[in-house]
Subunit: 242 residues, 2 copies
Protein backbone atom coordinates (compact mmCIF):
# COMPACT_ATOMS: atom_id res chain seq x y z
CA UNK A 1 0.00 0.00 0.00
CA UNK A 2 1.53 3.22 -1.19
CA UNK A 3 0.83 6.74 -0.02
CA UNK A 4 2.80 9.65 -1.45
CA UNK A 5 2.97 13.00 0.34
CA UNK A 6 4.10 15.32 -2.41
CA UNK A 7 5.49 18.85 -2.36
CA UNK A 8 4.67 20.44 -5.70
CA UNK A 9 6.76 23.57 -5.11
CA UNK A 10 5.55 27.16 -5.10
CA UNK A 11 2.97 26.86 -7.86
CA UNK A 12 3.96 26.68 -11.49
CA UNK A 13 4.62 23.35 -13.21
CA UNK A 14 8.15 24.50 -14.04
CA UNK A 15 9.09 24.38 -10.35
CA UNK A 16 7.69 20.90 -9.67
CA UNK A 17 10.30 18.14 -9.86
CA UNK A 18 10.00 15.22 -12.28
CA UNK A 19 9.90 12.97 -9.20
CA UNK A 20 6.80 14.77 -7.88
CA UNK A 21 5.20 14.63 -11.30
CA UNK A 22 5.88 10.90 -11.64
CA UNK A 23 4.44 10.20 -8.19
CA UNK A 24 1.24 12.07 -9.09
CA UNK A 25 0.99 10.17 -12.36
CA UNK A 26 1.53 6.84 -10.58
CA UNK A 27 -1.33 7.51 -8.15
CA UNK A 28 -4.95 6.40 -8.48
CA UNK A 29 -6.37 8.91 -6.03
CA UNK A 30 -5.33 12.55 -5.50
CA UNK A 31 -6.00 14.17 -2.13
CA UNK A 32 -5.44 17.71 -0.98
CA UNK A 33 -6.69 21.19 -0.39
CA UNK A 34 -8.71 22.38 -3.38
CA UNK A 35 -6.32 25.19 -4.35
CA UNK A 36 -3.36 22.80 -4.54
CA UNK A 37 -5.34 20.21 -6.50
CA UNK A 38 -6.12 22.94 -9.03
CA UNK A 39 -2.37 23.57 -9.51
CA UNK A 40 -1.87 20.00 -10.78
CA UNK A 41 -5.20 19.71 -12.60
CA UNK A 42 -3.60 18.96 -16.02
CA UNK A 43 -1.82 15.91 -14.54
CA UNK A 44 -4.78 14.23 -12.89
CA UNK A 45 -7.41 13.91 -15.57
CA UNK A 46 -9.50 10.80 -14.98
CA UNK A 47 -8.13 10.19 -11.47
CA UNK A 48 -10.31 10.08 -8.39
CA UNK A 49 -10.07 13.25 -6.34
CA UNK A 50 -10.49 13.70 -2.59
CA UNK A 51 -10.88 17.41 -2.06
CA UNK A 52 -11.09 18.94 1.40
CA UNK A 53 -11.35 22.57 2.45
CA UNK A 54 -8.55 24.44 4.22
CA UNK A 55 -7.95 23.73 7.92
CA UNK A 56 -9.51 20.24 7.92
CA UNK A 57 -6.09 18.64 7.81
CA UNK A 58 -6.79 15.68 10.06
CA UNK A 59 -9.89 14.78 8.08
CA UNK A 60 -7.89 15.17 4.86
CA UNK A 61 -5.15 12.82 6.03
CA UNK A 62 -7.59 10.28 7.48
CA UNK A 63 -9.50 10.09 4.21
CA UNK A 64 -6.27 9.66 2.26
CA UNK A 65 -5.16 6.90 4.65
CA UNK A 66 -8.50 5.10 4.34
CA UNK A 67 -8.25 5.31 0.57
CA UNK A 68 -4.74 3.82 0.70
CA UNK A 69 -6.04 0.98 2.90
CA UNK A 70 -8.31 -0.10 0.04
CA UNK A 71 -5.18 -0.87 -1.96
CA UNK A 72 -5.25 2.18 -4.19
CA UNK A 73 -2.13 4.34 -4.60
CA UNK A 74 -2.83 7.75 -3.08
CA UNK A 75 -1.07 11.09 -3.55
CA UNK A 76 -1.51 13.82 -0.95
CA UNK A 77 -0.67 17.14 -2.62
CA UNK A 78 1.02 19.95 -0.64
CA UNK A 79 2.21 23.30 -1.90
CA UNK A 80 5.89 24.07 -1.40
CA UNK A 81 7.61 21.23 0.46
CA UNK A 82 5.51 18.47 2.02
CA UNK A 83 7.78 18.49 5.08
CA UNK A 84 7.79 22.22 5.92
CA UNK A 85 4.43 23.07 7.56
CA UNK A 86 3.04 20.43 5.16
CA UNK A 87 1.12 17.20 5.59
CA UNK A 88 4.11 14.83 5.83
CA UNK A 89 4.10 14.80 9.63
CA UNK A 90 0.37 14.50 10.16
CA UNK A 91 0.18 11.72 7.59
CA UNK A 92 2.73 9.69 9.54
CA UNK A 93 0.76 10.35 12.74
CA UNK A 94 -2.55 9.33 11.19
CA UNK A 95 -1.01 6.14 9.76
CA UNK A 96 0.79 5.20 13.00
CA UNK A 97 -1.31 2.05 13.46
CA UNK A 98 -0.97 1.00 9.82
CA UNK A 99 2.65 0.01 9.24
CA UNK A 100 1.55 -1.72 6.04
CA UNK A 101 1.10 1.67 4.40
CA UNK A 102 4.36 2.72 2.75
CA UNK A 103 4.49 6.52 3.11
CA UNK A 104 6.91 8.20 0.72
CA UNK A 105 7.55 11.91 1.21
CA UNK A 106 8.49 13.64 -2.05
CA UNK A 107 10.20 16.95 -1.32
CA UNK A 108 9.46 20.20 -3.12
CA UNK A 109 10.78 23.74 -3.16
CA UNK A 110 9.54 25.52 -0.04
CA UNK A 111 8.62 29.22 0.08
CA UNK A 112 11.80 30.06 2.03
CA UNK A 113 13.94 28.98 -0.93
CA UNK A 114 11.60 30.16 -3.70
CA UNK A 115 11.02 33.54 -2.06
CA UNK A 116 14.70 34.02 -1.28
CA UNK A 117 15.50 33.56 -4.97
CA UNK A 118 13.04 36.32 -5.89
CA UNK A 119 14.63 38.77 -3.45
CA UNK A 120 18.24 37.83 -4.25
CA UNK A 121 20.06 35.71 -1.67
CA UNK A 122 18.89 36.48 1.90
CA UNK A 123 19.27 32.94 3.30
CA UNK A 124 22.82 32.14 2.22
CA UNK A 125 23.95 31.85 5.83
CA UNK A 126 22.38 30.15 8.89
CA UNK A 127 18.65 30.85 9.07
CA UNK A 128 15.52 30.14 11.09
CA UNK A 129 12.05 29.48 9.68
CA UNK A 130 9.19 30.56 11.95
CA UNK A 131 5.44 30.48 11.38
CA UNK A 132 3.47 33.31 12.97
CA UNK A 133 0.33 31.19 13.11
CA UNK A 134 -0.68 30.53 16.71
CA UNK A 135 -3.46 28.09 15.83
CA UNK A 136 -1.44 25.13 17.13
CA UNK A 137 1.48 26.87 18.84
CA UNK A 138 1.29 29.11 21.92
CA UNK A 139 2.15 32.70 20.98
CA UNK A 140 4.66 32.84 23.85
CA UNK A 141 6.62 30.05 22.15
CA UNK A 142 6.61 31.96 18.87
CA UNK A 143 7.78 35.10 20.67
CA UNK A 144 10.64 33.20 22.30
CA UNK A 145 11.75 31.82 18.95
CA UNK A 146 11.65 35.25 17.34
CA UNK A 147 13.64 36.69 20.23
CA UNK A 148 16.28 33.95 20.36
CA UNK A 149 16.65 33.70 16.56
CA UNK A 150 17.09 37.45 16.41
CA UNK A 151 19.64 37.55 19.24
CA UNK A 152 21.62 34.71 17.65
CA UNK A 153 21.83 36.71 14.39
CA UNK A 154 20.03 34.14 12.26
CA UNK A 155 18.58 35.24 8.95
CA UNK A 156 14.85 34.74 9.57
CA UNK A 157 12.08 33.64 7.25
CA UNK A 158 8.48 34.06 8.41
CA UNK A 159 5.61 31.90 7.13
CA UNK A 160 1.94 32.75 7.71
CA UNK A 161 2.77 36.33 8.69
CA UNK A 162 -0.84 37.45 8.79
CA UNK A 163 -4.49 36.50 8.60
CA UNK A 164 -7.79 38.23 9.26
CA UNK A 165 -7.62 37.33 12.93
CA UNK A 166 -3.91 38.11 13.26
CA UNK A 167 -3.55 41.41 11.42
CA UNK A 168 -0.96 42.83 13.84
CA UNK A 169 1.23 39.74 14.35
CA UNK A 170 3.92 40.86 11.91
CA UNK A 171 4.13 44.16 13.75
CA UNK A 172 4.47 42.31 17.06
CA UNK A 173 7.15 40.06 15.57
CA UNK A 174 9.11 43.04 14.27
CA UNK A 175 8.95 44.73 17.67
CA UNK A 176 10.52 41.64 19.23
CA UNK A 177 13.28 41.53 16.62
CA UNK A 178 13.90 45.28 16.96
CA UNK A 179 15.09 44.61 20.52
CA UNK A 180 18.24 43.01 19.09
CA UNK A 181 18.32 44.13 15.43
CA UNK A 182 18.88 47.61 14.03
CA UNK A 183 15.87 49.39 12.49
CA UNK A 184 17.71 49.64 9.17
CA UNK A 185 18.33 45.86 8.97
CA UNK A 186 17.62 44.90 5.35
CA UNK A 187 14.42 42.88 4.99
CA UNK A 188 12.03 41.86 2.25
CA UNK A 189 8.81 40.11 1.48
CA UNK A 190 7.43 38.21 -1.48
CA UNK A 191 3.78 37.91 -2.45
CA UNK A 192 2.36 35.10 -4.58
CA UNK A 193 5.66 33.24 -4.94
CA UNK A 194 5.83 31.28 -8.19
CA UNK A 195 2.31 32.32 -9.20
CA UNK A 196 0.64 35.11 -11.15
CA UNK A 197 1.32 38.42 -9.42
CA UNK A 198 4.63 37.34 -7.89
CA UNK A 199 6.13 40.45 -6.35
CA UNK A 200 9.21 40.94 -4.19
CA UNK A 201 9.82 44.06 -2.10
CA UNK A 202 13.00 45.05 -0.26
CA UNK A 203 12.68 47.29 2.80
CA UNK A 204 14.12 47.91 6.26
CA UNK A 205 13.01 46.21 9.46
CA UNK A 206 11.47 49.51 10.61
CA UNK A 207 9.49 49.73 7.37
CA UNK A 208 8.49 46.08 7.58
CA UNK A 209 7.01 46.75 11.01
CA UNK A 210 4.52 49.16 9.46
CA UNK A 211 3.71 47.06 6.40
CA UNK A 212 0.50 45.10 5.98
CA UNK A 213 0.94 41.71 4.34
CA UNK A 214 -1.53 38.92 3.57
CA UNK A 215 -1.28 35.21 4.30
CA UNK A 216 0.15 34.51 0.83
CA UNK A 217 3.28 36.48 1.71
CA UNK A 218 6.65 35.16 2.89
CA UNK A 219 8.81 37.55 4.89
CA UNK A 220 12.61 37.71 5.21
CA UNK A 221 14.70 39.48 7.85
CA UNK A 222 18.41 39.80 7.16
CA UNK A 223 21.19 39.12 9.67
CA UNK A 224 23.71 41.73 10.81
CA UNK A 225 25.72 41.23 7.60
CA UNK A 226 22.88 41.35 5.07
CA UNK A 227 23.12 44.15 2.53
CA UNK A 228 21.16 45.50 -0.40
CA UNK A 229 23.14 45.14 -3.63
CA UNK A 230 21.58 46.40 -6.84
CA UNK A 231 18.14 46.30 -5.26
CA UNK A 232 18.59 42.70 -4.12
CA UNK A 233 18.74 41.36 -0.57
CA UNK A 234 22.09 39.62 -0.12
CA UNK A 235 23.56 37.83 2.91
CA UNK A 236 27.30 37.10 2.73
CA UNK A 237 28.55 33.58 3.35
CA UNK A 238 30.21 34.49 6.58
CA UNK A 239 31.79 37.06 8.85
CA UNK A 240 35.34 37.15 7.57
CA UNK A 241 36.80 38.04 4.22
CA UNK A 242 39.52 35.82 2.92
CA UNK B 1 23.60 40.05 -20.02
CA UNK B 2 22.19 37.05 -18.25
CA UNK B 3 23.70 35.06 -15.42
CA UNK B 4 21.78 32.22 -13.85
CA UNK B 5 22.66 30.84 -10.42
CA UNK B 6 20.98 27.46 -10.43
CA UNK B 7 20.15 25.02 -7.65
CA UNK B 8 20.00 21.57 -9.20
CA UNK B 9 18.64 19.85 -6.07
CA UNK B 10 20.23 16.98 -4.19
CA UNK B 11 21.67 15.11 -7.14
CA UNK B 12 19.49 13.05 -9.42
CA UNK B 13 17.87 14.54 -12.51
CA UNK B 14 14.43 13.61 -11.16
CA UNK B 15 14.80 16.17 -8.37
CA UNK B 16 15.89 19.06 -10.62
CA UNK B 17 13.05 21.37 -11.63
CA UNK B 18 12.12 21.98 -15.29
CA UNK B 19 12.97 25.64 -14.64
CA UNK B 20 16.53 24.72 -13.63
CA UNK B 21 16.85 22.44 -16.62
CA UNK B 22 15.60 25.12 -19.00
CA UNK B 23 18.03 27.67 -17.57
CA UNK B 24 20.95 25.27 -18.09
CA UNK B 25 19.82 24.57 -21.64
CA UNK B 26 19.49 28.31 -22.36
CA UNK B 27 23.06 28.98 -21.24
CA UNK B 28 26.18 29.15 -23.41
CA UNK B 29 28.65 28.64 -20.58
CA UNK B 30 28.35 26.37 -17.55
CA UNK B 31 30.32 27.22 -14.41
CA UNK B 32 30.66 25.36 -11.15
CA UNK B 33 32.48 22.94 -8.93
CA UNK B 34 33.50 19.86 -10.92
CA UNK B 35 31.31 17.43 -8.94
CA UNK B 36 28.18 19.49 -9.62
CA UNK B 37 29.02 19.94 -13.29
CA UNK B 38 29.23 16.15 -13.54
CA UNK B 39 25.67 15.85 -12.21
CA UNK B 40 24.31 17.79 -15.19
CA UNK B 41 26.76 16.42 -17.78
CA UNK B 42 24.02 14.99 -20.05
CA UNK B 43 22.45 18.47 -20.39
CA UNK B 44 25.54 20.43 -21.34
CA UNK B 45 27.05 18.63 -24.29
CA UNK B 46 28.78 21.10 -26.59
CA UNK B 47 28.63 23.97 -24.11
CA UNK B 48 31.69 25.75 -22.82
CA UNK B 49 32.57 24.70 -19.27
CA UNK B 50 34.29 26.72 -16.55
CA UNK B 51 35.32 24.21 -13.94
CA UNK B 52 36.90 25.24 -10.66
CA UNK B 53 37.95 23.15 -7.69
CA UNK B 54 36.20 23.25 -4.32
CA UNK B 55 36.80 26.24 -2.02
CA UNK B 56 37.80 28.65 -4.81
CA UNK B 57 34.35 30.21 -4.75
CA UNK B 58 35.37 33.82 -5.34
CA UNK B 59 37.46 32.84 -8.34
CA UNK B 60 34.59 30.73 -9.63
CA UNK B 61 32.11 33.58 -9.40
CA UNK B 62 34.54 36.13 -10.86
CA UNK B 63 35.19 33.94 -13.87
CA UNK B 64 31.46 33.41 -14.39
CA UNK B 65 30.89 37.17 -14.15
CA UNK B 66 33.64 37.91 -16.66
CA UNK B 67 32.16 35.37 -19.03
CA UNK B 68 28.74 37.03 -18.70
CA UNK B 69 30.34 40.41 -19.46
CA UNK B 70 31.34 39.12 -22.90
CA UNK B 71 27.64 38.82 -23.68
CA UNK B 72 27.35 35.06 -23.28
CA UNK B 73 24.60 33.58 -21.11
CA UNK B 74 26.21 31.87 -18.12
CA UNK B 75 24.86 29.27 -15.69
CA UNK B 76 26.49 28.81 -12.28
CA UNK B 77 25.59 25.34 -11.03
CA UNK B 78 25.04 24.72 -7.30
CA UNK B 79 23.94 21.52 -5.59
CA UNK B 80 20.78 21.75 -3.50
CA UNK B 81 19.44 25.30 -3.46
CA UNK B 82 21.56 28.12 -4.89
CA UNK B 83 20.49 30.36 -2.01
CA UNK B 84 21.24 28.08 0.98
CA UNK B 85 25.04 28.06 1.50
CA UNK B 86 25.17 28.34 -2.30
CA UNK B 87 26.70 30.80 -4.74
CA UNK B 88 23.69 33.14 -5.08
CA UNK B 89 24.98 35.59 -2.49
CA UNK B 90 28.60 35.69 -3.59
CA UNK B 91 27.54 36.11 -7.22
CA UNK B 92 25.56 39.23 -6.31
CA UNK B 93 28.57 40.53 -4.36
CA UNK B 94 31.00 39.88 -7.21
CA UNK B 95 28.67 41.57 -9.71
CA UNK B 96 27.96 44.59 -7.48
CA UNK B 97 29.66 46.98 -9.91
CA UNK B 98 27.97 45.49 -12.96
CA UNK B 99 24.27 46.34 -12.77
CA UNK B 100 23.98 45.45 -16.45
CA UNK B 101 24.30 41.76 -15.56
CA UNK B 102 20.83 40.33 -14.90
CA UNK B 103 21.33 37.71 -12.16
CA UNK B 104 18.49 35.22 -11.91
CA UNK B 105 18.54 32.82 -8.97
CA UNK B 106 16.79 29.53 -9.78
CA UNK B 107 15.86 27.73 -6.56
CA UNK B 108 16.37 24.03 -5.96
CA UNK B 109 15.58 21.48 -3.27
CA UNK B 110 18.02 22.00 -0.41
CA UNK B 111 19.38 19.16 1.74
CA UNK B 112 17.21 20.19 4.70
CA UNK B 113 14.07 19.38 2.70
CA UNK B 114 15.45 16.41 0.76
CA UNK B 115 16.99 14.83 3.85
CA UNK B 116 13.89 15.45 5.97
CA UNK B 117 11.83 13.53 3.40
CA UNK B 118 14.18 10.54 3.70
CA UNK B 119 13.84 10.46 7.50
CA UNK B 120 10.08 11.13 7.58
CA UNK B 121 8.99 14.62 8.61
CA UNK B 122 11.38 16.16 11.15
CA UNK B 123 11.04 19.80 9.96
CA UNK B 124 7.27 20.17 9.92
CA UNK B 125 7.41 22.85 12.60
CA UNK B 126 9.69 25.89 13.07
CA UNK B 127 13.30 25.01 12.37
CA UNK B 128 16.81 26.42 12.24
CA UNK B 129 19.49 25.57 9.69
CA UNK B 130 23.06 25.86 10.94
CA UNK B 131 26.36 25.06 9.24
CA UNK B 132 29.10 23.70 11.48
CA UNK B 133 31.78 24.98 9.14
CA UNK B 134 33.87 27.66 10.85
CA UNK B 135 35.86 28.56 7.74
CA UNK B 136 34.01 31.89 7.41
CA UNK B 137 32.11 32.07 10.69
CA UNK B 138 33.62 32.34 14.19
CA UNK B 139 32.98 29.14 16.14
CA UNK B 140 31.61 31.20 19.05
CA UNK B 141 28.86 32.46 16.75
CA UNK B 142 28.00 28.90 15.73
CA UNK B 143 27.92 27.85 19.38
CA UNK B 144 25.57 30.70 20.26
CA UNK B 145 23.22 29.72 17.43
CA UNK B 146 23.20 26.10 18.50
CA UNK B 147 22.52 27.11 22.09
CA UNK B 148 19.74 29.61 21.31
CA UNK B 149 18.08 27.41 18.69
CA UNK B 150 18.10 24.53 21.13
CA UNK B 151 16.70 26.60 24.00
CA UNK B 152 13.94 27.98 21.76
CA UNK B 153 12.91 24.40 20.88
CA UNK B 154 13.53 24.74 17.15
CA UNK B 155 13.91 21.60 15.09
CA UNK B 156 17.52 21.89 13.92
CA UNK B 157 19.18 20.88 10.69
CA UNK B 158 22.98 20.85 10.52
CA UNK B 159 24.93 21.27 7.29
CA UNK B 160 28.65 20.54 6.99
CA UNK B 161 28.70 18.57 10.24
CA UNK B 162 32.23 17.32 9.80
CA UNK B 163 35.45 17.44 7.84
CA UNK B 164 38.96 16.15 8.27
CA UNK B 165 39.92 19.21 10.28
CA UNK B 166 36.69 19.30 12.26
CA UNK B 167 36.15 15.67 13.24
CA UNK B 168 34.76 16.50 16.70
CA UNK B 169 32.46 19.43 15.79
CA UNK B 170 29.28 17.36 15.76
CA UNK B 171 30.15 16.09 19.23
CA UNK B 172 30.72 19.66 20.42
CA UNK B 173 27.43 20.73 18.85
CA UNK B 174 25.54 17.90 20.54
CA UNK B 175 27.07 18.79 23.90
CA UNK B 176 25.73 22.33 23.52
CA UNK B 177 22.25 21.10 22.60
CA UNK B 178 22.28 18.57 25.44
CA UNK B 179 22.29 21.50 27.86
CA UNK B 180 18.66 22.20 26.94
CA UNK B 181 17.50 19.02 25.16
CA UNK B 182 16.95 15.56 26.61
CA UNK B 183 19.46 12.83 25.68
CA UNK B 184 16.63 10.75 24.17
CA UNK B 185 15.51 13.56 21.84
CA UNK B 186 14.83 11.87 18.50
CA UNK B 187 17.43 12.76 15.86
CA UNK B 188 18.59 11.47 12.52
CA UNK B 189 21.10 11.87 9.76
CA UNK B 190 21.15 11.23 6.04
CA UNK B 191 24.16 10.35 3.94
CA UNK B 192 24.42 10.92 0.19
CA UNK B 193 20.98 12.53 -0.12
CA UNK B 194 19.46 11.95 -3.55
CA UNK B 195 22.52 10.05 -4.78
CA UNK B 196 23.79 6.49 -4.89
CA UNK B 197 24.17 5.18 -1.36
CA UNK B 198 21.46 7.40 0.13
CA UNK B 199 20.98 6.24 3.69
CA UNK B 200 18.90 7.65 6.54
CA UNK B 201 19.46 6.71 10.18
CA UNK B 202 17.25 7.55 13.17
CA UNK B 203 18.87 7.80 16.60
CA UNK B 204 18.78 9.75 19.87
CA UNK B 205 20.68 12.94 20.60
CA UNK B 206 22.93 10.98 22.99
CA UNK B 207 23.71 8.47 20.22
CA UNK B 208 24.25 11.24 17.68
CA UNK B 209 26.87 12.75 19.97
CA UNK B 210 28.97 9.60 19.61
CA UNK B 211 28.41 9.13 15.89
CA UNK B 212 31.00 9.91 13.24
CA UNK B 213 29.61 11.49 10.09
CA UNK B 214 31.27 12.77 6.94
CA UNK B 215 30.82 16.08 5.15
CA UNK B 216 28.22 14.57 2.80
CA UNK B 217 25.86 14.05 5.72
CA UNK B 218 22.96 16.23 6.83
CA UNK B 219 21.93 16.00 10.48
CA UNK B 220 18.52 16.56 12.08
CA UNK B 221 17.68 17.20 15.74
CA UNK B 222 14.03 16.99 16.73
CA UNK B 223 12.22 19.47 18.95
CA UNK B 224 10.59 18.55 22.28
CA UNK B 225 7.55 17.13 20.45
CA UNK B 226 9.37 15.05 17.81
CA UNK B 227 8.65 11.33 17.95
CA UNK B 228 9.65 8.18 16.13
CA UNK B 229 6.67 6.63 14.36
CA UNK B 230 7.19 3.43 12.41
CA UNK B 231 10.92 4.06 12.28
CA UNK B 232 10.43 7.57 10.89
CA UNK B 233 11.33 10.88 12.53
CA UNK B 234 8.12 12.93 12.86
CA UNK B 235 7.54 16.40 14.30
CA UNK B 236 3.90 17.33 14.96
CA UNK B 237 2.48 20.53 13.54
CA UNK B 238 2.15 22.15 16.92
CA UNK B 239 1.79 21.87 20.65
CA UNK B 240 -1.93 21.41 21.04
CA UNK B 241 -4.30 18.76 19.81
CA UNK B 242 -7.56 19.93 18.37
Amino acid sequence: MKLYVIGIGPGGADQMTPRARAAIEASDIIAGYTTYIDLVRPLIEGKEILQTPMKQEIDRCTRARDAALTGKTVAMICSGDAGVYGMAGLMHEVCADHPDIDIEVVPGITAACAGAAVLGAPLVHDFAVISLSDLLTPWEKIEKRLDFASQADFCICLYNPSSKKRADYLQKACDIMLKSRLPDTPCGYVQNIGRAGECGTVCTLAQLRDTSVDMFTTVFIGNSQTRVIGGKLVTPRGYETK
